[in-house]
Every structure is written in structure tokens, then in C-alpha cells.
């Protein structure tokens, strides 16, 4: 029984909904549900949380009743852990380098790290892409669109 569930995508899908629903339904009443006539801010979240839990139960439950489909794997056929890491690290790089070193370094690192994720990418072309888009993008956003972020800076002053 449990083994069958582990191989069901919908089992996890339902589980995730129940998790979200519980979060809303348990936290919601803290905001004051009020009465039906004078609804408080907690009414909707609690109600929606309960609905989400019910939907989650329905989805997870129906995964028990139906035979396994063709594709029940949660991970795709060829998991791209490295590429996913690169894509997720790219905004992080933008945040860190953008905050401490300015817009151009942030942009450069953001594009460079994201570009590394592609299997056919070389370091050289990644640097080239980051430089070209970085310069063009910085010009566009800094000069034309006036985004108030220094182009280059140094943590603790300088430059």
C-alpha cells in the first residue's frame, strides 16, 4: 500500500496542498474570524485553508483509486540538478553582487551563473554573453530607465 503511494505523483501533489491548507487553516483563526455578518480578517484564510485541505485529500485519495499512469515520476527523466542550481543561484548572485558591488557586477554574475547551466555552454561564451548583455542591460536600465542603483560600488564606501 505505502509502496504504491510512494510511486504516485498525485500522492505528493495532494500532500503539498494539505500542507499549504494546514498552514492557512491553523494560522487563519489567529487573525479573528468574526461572525458571518461582520467577517473578520481571519475568515477567508481559514475557509480557503479548509478547502485546500479537502482538495488535497481528494487528489491524494484518488491517486489510491486509479491505476498508475505512464509517467508517475516527480523528477523528470534526466534531472538537471546542476542547471537548476545555476538558475536558482542566478538571482541570488544578483542580490549579493548587486547590493555590495553595484549593478554591473550583479548583472554580470547573474547572467554568467545562469548561463553555466546549459550543457552546451563553454566558459568563454558564458563570459562573452554576460559581458555583452551586462553592458547593454546596465546602459538600458541605468541611463535610459534611471533605476537608482550604482553601476559600481564597494562595500563600505570607496569607488
Amino acid at each position: 500500500m505505502l509502496r504504491r503511494l510512494i510511486h504516485k505523483r498525485d500522492f505528493y501533489a495532494g500532500g503539498m496542498l494539505i500542507l499549504f491548507g494546514l498552514l492557512a487553516a491553523l494560522k487563519g483563526p489567529d487573525y479573528g474570524p468574526g461572525t458571518l455578518m461582520h467577517m473578520g480578517p481571519g475568515f477567508m484564510p481559514t475557509a480557503l485553508g479548509v478547502i485546500l485541505i479537502l482538495l488535497g485529500l481528494a487528489i491524494a485519495g484518488s491517486s489510491l483509486a486509479t491505476p498508475a499512469g505512464v509517467d508517475e515520476q516527480v523528477l523528470p527523466d534526466h534531472p538537471q540538478w546542476f542547471a537548476w542550481g545555476c538558475i536558482l543561484a542566478s538571482p541570488l548572485m544578483f542580490m549579493i553582487f548587486g547590493t555590495y558591488f553595484g549593478m554591473f557586477p550583479g548583472t554580470f554574475m547573474c547572467i554568467f551563473v545562469a548561463a553555466l547551466g546549459d550543457k552546451t555552454q563553454t566558459y568563454k561564451s558564458a563570459v562573452g554573453l554576460a559581458l555583452i548583455v551586462g553592458v547593454a542591460g546596465t546602459a538600458l536600465f541605468s541611463y535610459l530607465l534611471q533605476v537608482p542603483m550604482p553601476i559600481l560600488s564597494w562595500p563600505g564606501g570607496g569607488l
Partner: protein, 530 residues
């Protein structure tokens, strides 16, 4: 009534033809056409990326441009399907079935030319519908009280989440999740901070741009990275002289165009059934009507024209409930409404009266934009095809930069870049679990208004929940909701006899990159259709 509509439209052309508005419209349709051709980039991601850039514009220019991306992408999608057999945009997946065989026979240019003409006809019909139907709808909708608005929204949300693609239960779940995400932040009635977890950055709620770019940017890139198929451009050399259709071919396309247009406009009127469903229904109908149904899939021009006309007529028709009632039918429309709200314009039936320049300017710009698109598409097909050779390894890192800087520039706040990152990760997990993230956006945009009206309706009825069925108009909407659910249950309980069209929709939808979808769509061409 008709006369006022025409006068307003005339003024609309005045607005849309102002040089700067014309420029934004052109930029919108141009970018739309471009991303429509590019596999792995859709109108949703593009509109989200452009959204922060429109803050500095006047509302009219902003909405003209963003809407232009939406319908411009539909023209590009056809090129992708017919010349390269890439169903990268769900509404055009079905066009591959007969479009690519035509290309192999050397008739790709003719097919595209005729489909552009059919599309233009379909779009024109959709726009005409919008001109005459919207004022009528508005007149009715202005009589609505809180209870009616609430029931109508419920119907819109239910239709948007169940009639789209994938499992209806999962669609509803995503809508509910979207409404919950819309609740985050300070409650407008009481000032209570909800689900902010002590983070002051969340006081104003989750940023629409962060949500859209997380779901349709980062999550999509994670889904398509290293999944791209090699693009075969062997057949895609189309010269202008190849595009001239013969008289017989022109004659053959008249009725398919008309049929497609009617199907598309009907689908647009049912909330939630967007262009994708319209194009598949159109293909199936055309096959049924045809005297030689067995020839479909081998290069029947009807199988290209009819779905394309349906797509375009439905895309334009989708704007009717969005602009006149403030009820978006799908995620793109929700995003456009969000763009209006960011500009400080409240969507709803009062929009046409309060901001006639926006509504009629938009309608007029549809026509201008569609004419521009016909002009752009016929001579420039060669250039669009060249675009396809831009490798994904250059495309998505550049898009990542636009995502980051766009979210940052919206409020000059690094916190929101992090917000986008988290939403992107969760969005990808949801994608892998077979959820479609589009209804999240629908719920997110409609949620706050739904809650407000629900609370108001309850207050006015002194806490009597029966008010929703006691007032006649509201009761009709609730009845339609019940009918919708009953239909879904009926369809589920019936023995699973899924049509090839449905399967193809889902494969195309799961695989926006088009890498695997192509093979599967092709494999299922011979499956029996009913």
C-alpha cells in the same frame, strides 16, 4: 447605441494613432511576434518581463503594448508550427498536424500566407464583437450589487480553473492557492497583517510581478533548460514568391475561415475556454465537416486555416469579459488587469465610462496592431525563422537578467528578487506535480476583490448566506457554477475515452519547450478522434 459605439471607436482611433501610442503598439506586436516564434519563451513570460518597464508610461501606452504582445505572439506561433513542426505555443500545437506536411510539400509559404489572412479575419471579427458586446455587458453589469459581483467572480474563477488544461480539481486547488497568496499583507478592512510572518517587506502583499516572473519565468526556465530539441530549419526557406496562393486555394479557405472564426468567438464567450480549446475544437470540427476526413494530417490547408482563425478570434474575444466586467478568463488577461491596477485603474464595469481612452484606444489599437502584424509577417518570415537559430543557452540567461532587474526596478527592493526566487522554486515543484500555475495568477488578481465583495455582501444581507441564491441574477450565476461542476463530474465518471486533441493539448501544455511534445503529438495523430 450602435452610433455611440462607433463614435467612441472613432475617438479610440484618435488615441491609438497618437505617435507615441502607435509606437508602443508597434513595439508590443513586434516583441510579441518575436517571442511567438522563439521556442521556450511565451507571451506570459514576456508580458511579465515588460510589466515593470511600463511603470513610467501612461496607462494607455502601457496597456496597448502589453496587449500587443499577447496577440502578436499568436501570429508568431503559427510560423513555428507550420515551418518547423514545433508546437511551442499550446494554441498552435494542432496547426502542426497539417501545417508541417504542407511545408514538406513546398507549400509552407502558401499555408502561412493563407493562415495570416484567416487570422486577420478571425481577429477582426473578435474586435467587432468587442465593440458591440462590451457596452451591452457593461450596462447590465452596472446594476450588479456585491452579491452578484461575488457570484460572477466565483463563476469566472471556477471556469478559468476547470476548463483550462489539466485536471479540474488541481486547477481549482491552484486558484484557491492564488487567492490565499493574494491575502498575504495588510487587510484593507481592519489593518491586520496576514501571513507576513513578521517580514515588513510583505506588508503590501506579494508583488504581482514577483509572482508572475517566478511562475512563468524562473519555473519555466528550470523546466526547459537542457530540454531543447535540435531545430530543423531545412524546410524553412520561404521566399515571398512562394507565398502567393492560387485562386483555387483562396476559394478553399473561405469556409474554414468562417467556421473557425465562429468557433473561436463562441469559445471566447464561455469564460475559461481560451484559444487553445478553440483551436482544437476547430480542428475537430473541420475534420468532421470535411468530405475527405482521412486526408487530415497529410497536409490539408483547411486543418491549418480553421484552427488559426479560431485562435485569433478567441484571443480578441477574451478581452471582452476582461475589459468590460473586470473578470479575466486566463492568466494573460489577469496579468493585463494587474498591469491596469498597478497604474491605479480599477477594473470592472465602470472602466469603459471612466477611462474611455483606455478601452476604445485599446480596441482601435487591436486593428492597427493586427494590420501591422499582417505587414510584419508576410515579408519578414525569413527573418523570424532566423530568430529560431538563437540558441536557448543565450536566451534564458539573458531572460534571467531581465527577470532580476525587472523585479528589482519595480520597487527598488532586493527583497522582491528573493521573493521571485522562492516563488520560482515552488512553481517548478508544482509544475512537476502536474499543477498548472496559470490559475494561481487568476486567483491572485481576483482574490482581494472577491474577498471584499464577499464581506460586503454578507454585511448587507446581515450574515445570511442565502442571499446568493435569493437574488435572481446571482442565483443564475450560482446555478451555472453548479452546472459546470456537474458537467466536470459527469465527464470524469464517463469511461475515459480521451480524444487525441485533449492528449495533444496536455502534452503541448506540459512541454512548453516543445522538445518532447512534438514527438508525442505526432505519434498520436493517428489515434481515433471522436
Amino acid at each position: 447605441m450602435i452610433l455611440t459605439a462607433l463614435t467612441d471607436l472613432w475617438n479610440g482611433f484618435g488615441v491609438a494613432l497618437e505617435p507615441h501610442n502607435l509606437m508602443w503598439c508597434f513595439l508590443g506586436v513586434f516583441l510579441g511576434n518575436m517571442v511567438g516564434v522563439l521556442p521556450g519563451m511565451g507571451p506570459l513570460a514576456t508580458i511579465s518581463i515588460l510589466l515593470p518597464l511600463t511603470f513610467g508610461l501612461k496607462p494607455v501606452g502601457a496597456i496597448l503594448m502589453l496587449a500587443g504582445v499577447m496577440y502578436g505572439a499568436q501570429y508568431g506561433g503559427a510560423i513555428c508550427s507550420v515551418l518547423l513542426n514545433l508546437p511551442c505555443h499550446p494554441p498552435h500545437a494542432v496547426t502542426c498536424l497539417d501545417g508541417f506536411p504542407l511545408t514538406k510539400q513546398g507549400k509552407g509559404g502558401v499555408a502561412l500566407c493563407l493562415s495570416v489572412m484567416g487570422s486577420f479575419f478571425g481577429a477582426s471579427w473578435g474586435i467587432t464583437e468587442m465593440i458591440f458586446l462590451s457596452p451591452v455587458l457593461v450596462r447590465v453589469a452596472l446594476q450588479f450589487g456585491a452579491a452578484e459581483i461575488c457570484s460572477l467572480m466565483l463563476l469566472g474563477l471556477l471556469a478559468g480553473s476547470t476548463l483550462a488544461r489539466g485536471s479540474p480539481v488541481k486547477g481549482v486547488a491552484m486558484t484557491v492557492l492564488g487567492i490565499l497568496l493574494g491575502i498575504v499583507g495588510t487587510d484593507i478592512n481592519s489593518g491586520t497583517e496576514r501571513f507576513t510572518f513578521g517580514l515588513t517587506e510583505l506588508d503590501d502583499g506579494i508583488e504581482l510581478i514577483a509572482l508572475a516572473l517566478g511562475l512563468f519565468g524562473i519555473a519555466e526556465f528550470m523546466n526547459s533548460v537542457n530540454q531543447q530539441a535540435n531545430i530543423d530549419t531545412k524546410y524553412s526557406n520561404v521566399k515571398l514568391s512562394d507565398m502567393r496562393p492560387s485562386k483555387a486555394e483562396l476559394k478553399r479557405t473561405i469556409f474554414p475561415t468562417l467556421r473557425g472564426t465562429i468557433i473561436g468567438s463562441l469559445c471566447a464567450l464561455i469564460p475559461g475556454t481560451g484559444p487553445t480549446i478553440a483551436s482544437f475544437v476547430a480542428y475537430a470540427t473541420e475534420k468532421k465537416v470535411s468530405r475527405t476526413p482521412e486526408k487530415f494530417g497529410t497536409g490539408m490547408i483547411e486543418g491549418v486555416i480553421c484552427p488559426e482563425a479560431a485562435t485569433h478570434s478567441s484571443v480578441q474575444g477574451d478581452f471582452i469579459p476582461t475589459m468590460s466586467l473586470g473578470i479575466p478568463g486566463d492568466a494573460v488577461m489577469a496579468l493585463l488587469l494587474g498591469a491596469l491596477m498597478i497604474q491605479g485603474i480599477a477594473p470592472g464595469p465602470q472602466l469603459i465610462k471612466e477611462h474611455p481612452d483606455i478601452f476604445w484606444g485599446l480596441v482601435a489599437s487591436f486593428w492597427i496592431g493586427n494590420i501591422l502584424l499582417v505587414l510584419l509577417n508576410v515579408p519578414l518570415i525569413g527573418i523570424w525563422v532566423k530568430l529560431l537559430t538563437i540558441p536557448y543557452r543565450y536566451l534564458y540567461p539573458s531572460a534571467m537578467f531581465f527577470v532580476c532587474i525587472g523585479v528589482y526596478a519595480a520597487n527598488n527592493d532586493m527583497f522582491q528578487v528573493g521573493e521571485t526566487l522562492v516563488i520560482g522554486l515552488v512553481g517548478y515543484i508544482l509544475l512537476r506535480l502536474d499543477f498548472h500555475p496559470a490559475p494561481i495568477l487568476l486567483g491572485f488578481v481576483m482574490g482581494p476583490r472577491f474577498e471584499e465583495n464577499f464581506r460586503r455582501a454578507m454585511l448587507l444581507s446581515r450574515g445570511d448566506i442565502g442571499v446568493f441564491v435569493e437574488r435572481p441574477i446571482s442565483a443564475v450565476f450560482i446555478g451555472l457554477c453548479a452546472l459546470l461542476i456537474a458537467l466536470q463530474v459527469y465527464v470524469r465518471l464517463r469511461p475515459p475515452k480521451r480524444s487525441a486533441a485533449e492528449v495533444a493539448v496536455e502534452t503541448a501544455a506540459v512541454d512548453p519547450g516543445g522538445a518532447g511534445g512534438l514527438a508525442r503529438v505526432a505519434a498520436r495523430t493517428d489515434a481515433p478522434q471522436h
